[in-house]
């Protein structure tokens, strides 16, 4: 059956219905559990020996850790390091979930907007709660950039408020739409191979082209999987920086 969005269907594995609400253990839940298990295994098991000269897996875990640490320190400063566990968890969850999704027949957790929206809301709520707790009403300075002429200040403030409101929306939709669009494109090109291959000898020769395109797109999707995790982490760091230092 040729349907590029069939892969995103959520199917219950263990149906659980409590009082009319559906709490079923679905394929989405299964892959979230797998994501967490893989991320924790990747980070905990190789670093258990605490070797001074790290082995291959221990260096991989350490390089990942230091990469996110540098990202956060560069954009939010040393004060932002208190949020390091949060940012690193987000990064690892998104990265591992994206990479699980690259296996054929596996479900991609981040292709559902509700998952990415929950992550984005967690980020924005952290920014708001910490921003108001640390700065009080000075947090509103975020919307009033310095050095702007009085005449155009209301417009600038309106634009700043709008851009702040659109942050959780763009943060969630960017991740989910990238993953969704990438996987749909892969399936569409894979469908071309089947369509051409069933059209005789000439068709099989022609099917080599979409096959090459699918291989290239798969490589691109691996890049996107890592890049989107990095983008989510770096945007989270920048938004946290706004909460820590609201004055521009």
């Amino acid at each position: 059956m040729y349907d590029p969005i069939h892969q995103f269907r959520i199917e219950p594995i263990v149906p659980i219905v409590v009082g009319g609400h559906n709490f079923s253990f679905t394929n989405s839940s299964l892959f979230m559990v797998l994501t967490v298990v893989a991320a924790v295994t990747f980070l905990l098991v190789p670093t258990r020996s605490r070797a001074v000269v790290p082995g291959r897996w221990q260096s991989a875990a350490e390089v990942t850790y230091e990469f996110v640490e540098k990202t956060l320190r560069d954009s939010a400063g040393s004060e932002g390091m208190r949020f390091f566990p949060f940012v690193f968890s987000l990064f690892m969850f998104i990265l591992v979930a994206n990479l699980w999704g690259m296996f054929p027949y596996f479900y991609t957790v981040t292709s559902q907007v509700i998952i990415t929206a929950a992550l984005a809301i967690a980020v924005i709520l952290t920014v708001l709660v910490y921003g108001f707790r640390k700065n009080g009403l000075h947090f509103f300075k975020l919307f009033v950039p310095g050095g702007v002429p009085k005449a155009i200040l209301p417009f600038v403030v309106a634009i700043e408020v709008l851009s702040f409101i659109s942050r959780p929306i763009s943060l969630s939709i960017r991740l989910f739409a990238n993953v969704l669009a990438g996987h749909i494109t892969l399936k569409v090109f894979a469908g071309f191979i089947v369509l051409l291959g069933s059209a005789g000898v000439l068709g099989v020769l022609g099917a080599v082209l979409p096959l090459l395109a699918t291989v290239a797109l798969t490589a691109l999707e691996f890049l996107v999987a890592a890049l989107q995790a990095y983008v989510f982490a770096i945007l989270t760091s920048l938004y946290l920086n706004d909460a820590i230092h609201p004055g521009h």
Partner: protein, 74 residues
């Protein structure tokens, strides 16, 4: 006009937005490359900003792609 035909046309029109986002991305990466060739020592320090600009610009293209996908598949 039939609804299905209008949906297909709308999806095609929505994809124009992806092209314009592509122009923006070309500006970002082109200017980054031009600056990096002039001053390679400073290039690595700006990589984070490059990715930030890429992400913010790309989001707009992705929004229009999303509209196209919604029109096609729902």
């Amino acid at each position: 006009m039939e609804i299905a035909a209008a949906k297909a046309l709308g999806a095609g029109i929505a994809c124009i937005g992806m092209g314009t986002a592509g122009i923006g991305l070309g500006h970002i990466f082109g200017n980054y490359l031009a600056a990096a060739v002039r001053n390679p020592a400073a290039a690595d320090g700006q990589f984070g900003r490059l990715i930030f600009g890429f992400a913010v610009t790309e989001a707009l293209g992705i929004f229009s792609l999303l509209i196209a996908l919604l029109l096609l598949f729902t």
